[in-house]
Structure formats: C-alpha cells, structure tokens
Amino acid sequence: MNDQEHDDLIDRVATALDVPEPSPLFWDHFPGRVRAAVQAAPAGARLGWWNRRAVLIALSASVAVAVASWTYVRNTSDTNDAPPAVIVVNGAPVDDWSDLDAESGWAIVTSVAESAGVEGLREAGFGVAPGGADAAIEDLTDAERAELMLLLRAEMKGDDAGGL
C-alpha cells in the first residue's frame, strides 16, 4: 500500500466512523440517566470491600456451624445406634492378646498396677474423690472389673472393631 492508498483508506475509515451528534437534550439528560442506573444497580454490585468481607465471614460462619451440627448429629446418631459395649465385647471377644503383652507401655502399667496397693496409691494422691465418676470402679464386682479390663485392653490395643 503506497502513501496515497494509505491516505485514501484512512479517509474512508474516518468517514465510516463519523459519529453524528445526538440531540442536546440527550447530553442534558444523560448524567441523570447514569445516576438512576447506578442507584438501580444490584446492591451486591455496590458493596464495599468491607461489606463483601462481612458477607464472606457470615457465610463461612454459617458453613462452619452447619458442618459442626452435622458432625454432632452424625456422632450422636452413631452412638445411639451402636449396641451396648458390654454386649459387643461379650459377643465378639478379643481373642489375640499376645501382641498386647509384648507392648512395653502396657508392661509398665501392668507392673506398676501389680506392685501398688490401693492404700499406697491413695497416699500418692491417686485417690478417688467421693461422688466422682471414677469412684464407680470401686463398686464394680469382680466380673464387671474383668469386663472393664477387657474393654480397656481392647481400647489400648487400638481395636475399635465392632463399634466399641
């Protein structure tokens, strides 16, 4: 394209892109039209950053509460649906304790428990407060204590099988 062709094309484009002048009334009314459009814009579009943040925080809080509620309900439901622990233990006793006996932690607990008398433990400050939940242990029969021991062993073994 030589200079003359270039200039001709520019002229044609300039003519084609010529913009006719609207009525003077249009310019008079246009700012009012824009103002009305701004006011009519969705409220969300006019929120400042702090409002958006507030909305996000409120939304996050709602989600957190919903999740917590759902988790609580689910856990409660699971607990209620689970059969009593004693029955489960009786129905499906843990039959392999060999690896538990090999546990060094359990060996320490066992040796301490075997050597320590009740009076000695009380003097050492391990006494059971009257009315405390753990006081109930002292009221268990031998069979119940044996059952409790099975439960504790199963728990320490990390065996949550069968919905303990």
Binding site: M1, E5, H6, L9, I10, R12, V13, A14, T15, A16, L17, D18, V19, P20, P22, F26, W27, F30, P31, R33, V34, R35, A37, V38, A41, A45, R46, G48
Partner: protein
C-alpha cells in the same frame, strides 16, 4: 449545587486525606468543583461526594459516547453502552489510584465494555441501502449516496476485524490519539499498537478489495 474546594477540603480532612490529596486541602477555596482538575474531582468522589461523579459524567460523556458509537454504529446501543461504562466507572472509581489520567482510564473502560458487548453479540452487517449517514458537504446527491454506501461497506469490514485491531483502529481514528495513549488505554505496548494498526489497515484493504 456547586461544591466548593473549601467544602471538599473539610470532607477530605474528615475522611483522612491521603498524602496524594494533601494538595487538594491546600487549594484555594473559591473554585467550583466543576472547574476543578480531574484529580480533584476524583478525590472528592473518593471522599464521599456523590455529586462529584455527576461532574465526571458531564465532562467525559461525549468522548465515552463517541467511542462506544464507533463500536456499535447506532445511537441507542451507544447510549446504553456509555451508560454501562459510567456505571462500571462508578464502581471502580473508588479504587482508582490515578496512575493514568481519568480520561485514559474511562476510555479503557469504554473500550473493554464495548469489546465485551460486540463479542457476545453477533455482528449485524448494515445493508448497503441503509440510509447514508454522511454529511453531503454540498455535493451531488449521487456522490453523497455513493459515499454513504462506501461508509457502510467500510463499517461492515471493521466489524470483521479481530477485537484488538478494531479497538486500535477506533482509537487511532478517534481524535487521532497518539500510539502511546492508545497503548495506555489498551494496556499494551506501543509496538503492539503500531502492529495492530498496520494489520487492521491491511485487513480492511483486503476485505474492501473483494
């Protein structure tokens, strides 16, 4: 009601003026905001003076409308687009830091809004027998008609250009904006603007010679 610089200064002080607006506080207290510099008006708007936005609209409405018109080629769509541009500008102006001139920023909003509009809308080609929209310049009616038809052909060819080339051509033909300002508006380099303008003309020439 005109807003005085003195009032503006007080409101800026209440709103905790930033260092950039300290100049405003020191300004003489007798000038109407309507006569004030764009930066002063923007500062007033950012300080909470809604009326300052009316001044901005009044000052830039013609340029914004004319840019929009060049993309849509009819008054109704151009008026709607220009309105949309100012609504977007209203939302964005509070974050406007003044890195570019207000006019440049508004042109950028106008070009982006227009390109979005033409991108989602299938280009409607004008029929050649559409009423010629050219000044007769005292010439023979036949000549005016031919010029009108040629203008329609050129506009249809412009509609087929890729968006960047189209935007560059519109801005270059509009008040003969320098390449540097077009680059600032389009957010590209001066080299890219020159290349786009060159390709736009080459494409136009190719289409018009068919």
């Amino acid at each position: 009601m005109p807003i005085k610089i003195a009032q503006l200064s007080r409101s800026l002080e209440w709103g905790g003026a930033t260092p950039g607006t300290a100049r405003v506080i020191d300004a003489p207290g007798s000038t109407d905001l309507a006569d004030a510099d764009d930066r002063v008006i923007v500062a007033a708007f950012q300080a909470g003076h809604e009326a300052a936005f009316d001044v901005i609209v009044g000052r830039h409405q013609r340029h914004v409308y004319q840019i929009c018109y060049r993309f849509v080629n009819n008054h109704e769509d151009a008026a709607d687009l220009a309105q949309d541009v100012f609504v977007r500008a209203y939302r964005g102006l509070r974050k406007f830091k003044g890195d570019a001139a207000l006019g440049t920023w508004l042109y950028r909003v106008a070009v982006n809004t227009s390109l979005n509009k033409v991108a989602i809308k299938r280009p409607v080609m004008e029929p050649l027998d559409a009423a010629p929209r050219v000044e007769t310049r005292g010439e023979h009616p036949d000549a005016a008609l031919m010029r009108g038809e040629d203008a329609v052909r050129v506009r249809n060819a412009i509609k087929r250009l890729p968006p960047r080339q189209r935007a560059t051509l519109v801005l270059r033909m509009y008040r003969e904006l320098p390449h540097e300002e077009i680059a600032a508006i389009l957010g590209s380099s001066v080299g890219a603007v020159k290349a786009n303008f060159f390709h736009a003309l080459a494409n136009l020439r190719k289409q018009l010679s068919k």
